[in-house]
Structure formats: structure tokens, C-alpha cells
């Protein structure tokens, strides 16, 4: 069943000439792991912000077309109401932190929704556990590592029990260990909790491994949709046009395709398996 349905959606920011999204159509199935790729300015952030309702509810823009997310029409309900169905994580976790302790940080959103105390405590405990931050309750959000901060931001989003998690370049500011922590948790909530994941990300090696579906945005339009195995080999020749890197191994294999059985690999494991000695 599709959980996100977008038809001919266009978004135009008020002071800008070009449309940020230009008549895009997209369906996402429940439980899918969807990666959005594209150069800076291609519309990745606008797509994320349209799904969680920040555009046009908090960032003013004209929006045309159809968008339905988890049974709601984002422009028509308040962002914090929608947060119960769509959690959001951004690229700069420290900007999201405001409380003295990790516990209070996660509690904040729930308190604002007027949830009762027992449920709040239960939700905080389970979401901190989910992101591997049990035991951090009394720590300051400002004195933990970047990867931990980002997982805390994920816990805040997850405490609302959303069906979808939208992550906009969640690892851009993190070191390799922090990146790995965030990707591991993201995969876990997708695989074990069944959440639908929408992630805009430049780490194509990880996308190749994790994503069910990859969307390529170019100047506000969706120009390719497919599995990593379908999509990455297609963009080998146009990396500079579309502004997206491909995994190094795909680049290599596509130049010597006769050395590989079947399709062009997108991960090292696939390459090792399909290489003809």
C-alpha cells in the first residue's frame, strides 16, 4: 500500500524565479527505504520539507498538485500534528537542541502534544533504546558527540511514534563513526520497526547498500527512479550533469563490464561475487 502519494506537485518559493519542485510524481510504499539523490539546489530539501509539511506551513511557498502522506494532506494540518505521523531529522542536530538533559529533549515534543505523563516516560524510554542512547537520560545534549546528537534528534522524532521518518542530509556534519551510527539506526528502524524512510544523502556507498528505491532529482524534476542496481549504472556517464557521485566500484565495473557476470555491481560485496577472474 502506498503511504506517500505525490502527483504533479510543484513548489515555488516566493522570491525565486525557478520552481523548486516542478511537477513531480512519486509513490512510496509502506516500509520502503527511499533515497533522494541530486546536486545542491536540485530540490532534495524541498521534497523532504513538503512531505513533513514545513513547506508551505512554516516556510512560505506556493504549492500546486496532489500530496498525501500517511493519509493526511500536509499543507492542511499543522506541522506538529503531522509530526505524529512523519518524523524529521535535519543536517545540523545541535541547532535542534534546546534542553538541559537528553530526557527533557525527547520529552519536549510529547509535552507540546499534551500526552499524559506515563505515555511520555514510556515513549522516551523506548525511543532512546531504539537509537542506542539508553543511559544518556541525564546527560546534556550539548556534551555528547555529533553522532549521539543526531541519534537524539532521531529519538525525539521517533517518540511521536511516526510511520515515516524523513532525514535531510543527516550525516553531512558527522565523522565516519557518527555516520555509521546514524545509518545503522536508520536501517534498524526501517527493518525492525517497519518505518518508511525517506533520506536525502550524499553517501552513495551506503545508499547503494540500504535503499530499496533511489530517486534522482535534477532542477526540481524527478528524472530517474529505480533500485540502486538499476539507477547507478545509468548515471555513470552523467555524474557531472546530474551532480551525483556513484559508488567507486560501479564506476570501475561499468568501464570493464565484461569482467562482471550479470548486472553491474553497486557494492564491493556484489563486485567480489560477480567478478570473473
Amino acid at each position: 500500500m502506498s503511504i506517500i502519494k505525490i502527483e504533479n506537485l510543484s513548489v515555488q518559493y516566493l522570491e525565486q524565479e525557478d520552481k523548486a519542485l516542478d511537477e513531480i510524481s512519486l509513490e512510496v510504499e509502506e516500509g520502503e527505504f527511499v533515497a533522494i539523490l541530486g546536486a545542491h539546489g536540485a530540490g532534495k530539501t524541498t521534497l523532504c520539507l513538503s512531505i513533513n509539511g514545513i513547506v508551505p506551513n512554516m516556510i512560505n511557498a506556493d504549492m500546486f498538485g496532489i500530496i498525501e502522506v500517511a493519509g493526511e494532506v500536509p499543507p492542511k494540518i499543522p506541522v506538529r500534528e503531522l509530526a505524529r505521523k512523519v518524523g524529521s531529522v535535519f543536517d545540523n542536530p545541535e541547532f535542534q537542541m534546546s534542553q538541559l538533559t537528553v530526557f527533557e529533549e525527547v520529552a519536549l515534543g510529547l509535552q507540546n502534544l499534551g500526552v499524559d505523563k506515563e505515555t511520555i516516560i514510556e515513549n522516551i524510554t523506548t525511543s532512546l533504546e531504539l537509537v542506542g542512547l539508553s543511559g544518556f537520560e541525564e546527560r546534556s545534549p550539548f556534551e555528547i558527540s555529533g553522532g549521539q546528537q543526531q541519534r537524539l534528534a532521531m529519538a525525539s522524532a521517533l517518540s511521536m511514534k511516526p510511520q515515516i521518518l524523513v532525514l535531510d542530509e543527516p550525516t553531512s556534519n558527522l565523522d565516519p563513526i557518527g555516520k555509521e551510527e546514524v545509518f545503522t539506526v536508520t536501517r534498524k528502524i526501517n527493518q525492525e520497526e517497519g518505518l518508511t524512510v525517506i533520506i536525502a544523502e550524499h553517501e552513495v556507498e551506503v545508499i547503494a547498500e540500504y535503499a530499496d528505491k533511489v530517486i534522482l532529482l535534477e532542477q526540481g524534476k524527478i528524472t530517474q527512479v529505480g533500485t540502486p542496481e538499476e539507477l547507478f549504472p545509468k548515471i555513470v556517464e552523467m555524474q557531472s550533469n546530474v551532480g551525483v557521485r556513484i559508488p567507486q566500484i560501479t564506476d570501475f565495473a561499468s568501464r570493464v563490464p565484461n569482467k562482471f557476470q550479470g548486472s553491474i555491481p553497486v557494492t564491493v560485496e556484489q563486485a567480489i561475487e560477480s567478478y570473473i577472474q
Partner: protein, 269 residues
Amino acid sequence: MSGTEIKCTKVGHTYPNGVQAIKDVDVTINQGEMVSVVGQNGSGKTTLVKHFNGLLKPTDGDITVGDLNTRENPVGLLAERVGYVFQNPNHQIFAASVHEELSFGLKNIGLGESEIEIKVKDIAEEFLLTEYLELNPYRLGFSLRKTVGMASIIAMEPDVVILDEPTTGQDYSGVKTIKESMAKLKSEGKTVIVVSHDMPLVAEETDRVLVMCNTELIFDGPPADLFINKPILEKTNLKPPQITAFAEAKNYGNNEKAILSVDDALKYT
């Protein structure tokens, strides 16, 4: 002229809170070298490079930048020779427009207005920033803001350019621009020191890697030697580039040296 050699003799640094970040580092970086500094967070790599332009002064040992001992000379003077591009552009950028940001350092080193204008125009073209010159840097996305930070340092033409995590959060063209400007700096005889977790960048663009681990410099050599050195890779949790890992697993290419790039690998097909 011999340019600016950076020489560390038994350098150690203990922070005021008692934490020792680096110890006993002996290394000399010659003018024109392309060097990367790698290691996990907390290994001491950022502390080490912050000594190269006097942002930090050693608590043990000595560092000379050209003929200047960093203990005895102010950061302002050292910065004319060694430019430092921060990982997070928000820690560096403060001007109200991209133009002003790019002019600031040039004014500080005493250039005249017309000269500044020419340099700003050139550097903006090189880094594809011309169309943003009048904008506030904070209106630009993270990646472009980072490019502004890099351009403003390179505009001053220091002998040595330090790049702290230049490629994180950059898209394809951002990474390409960075690689091109590294190559250009090399061709101009500049020293480039890049602190990075981006192993393909380290493998493809630099000739010498310094590996920091738990406050110490534990490896100093070419990337082709590093990426076949299992004990060092394991100890530091460094992951070689995909192509290197693949070649290694399949015994592909030359067993003495690691394969460092796709082009490198294609030579053996």
C-alpha cells in the same frame, strides 16, 4: 627561495584540563608536498594541524614554520604563510556578503583596493561563486558556504593551505571543485595539508599520509603503502576506498602496492 617548511620536533600538546592530545610528534613537511592527515576523531589529528599555523602552541617540543618558531610569533603573521580552512564554515565566516568575506583577508595582508577587486573576481570565478558575490553567506547552503570559506583563504595565496574535512557534505561538483583546486595549488608549488576521513580523496589526491592514533603519529608514508598495511588499518579503523578493498579481495593488480583509484585499477585489465 625554499618556501615554507613545517618542522615539528618532539611536539606534544596537553590541554589546560590535563588531556594530552598529541605527544612526541616528529615530522617535516616540505614546500610543495600533498599530505593528508587521517585518524579517528580524538586521535589528535586536528590538534596536530592546528599547530601548523600557530592556532595552538606546543606544550612540549618546537615547531618552525619556515624560519619562524610558532611559540614566538603571532598567529596573524603565521597565517600569511599557512592558511587554515575550517571544517565548519560557520566557525570561519562572519562577513555580510560573499564579496566582503573574500576581501577581508586580502585587506588584512595590506593589499590595495583595486588589487583586491581583481583577486576577488578571479577567485570567485575559480570557485564558481561569481553569481553569489552580493549575497549573505548564510543564505547559501552548507556546501557553498564551505566553498566560500576555502576561497577566502586561498585568495591570500599562502605557501601552505590546510583543508580540514573539505569534502564532507559536498555534492559531486563540490568535490570536483575541491579536487581541482587542490591540483591547481599543487601545480603552483603550494603545500596542501588535508585532514580527512574521505579515503578516496586521500588515496587519489595526496602523496603522503600521516596517520594519527591515540595521540601518536603511527604511520608516515605514501597511500599505496598505507592501504595494504593491515595492522595500521585495523588499529585505526580506517576503511580503504572501495576499489582498493575489491582489488585486495580479488588479488587484483600489483600485490606490493595498493590500488588507489579506478584509473589505477583499469591499468591491470
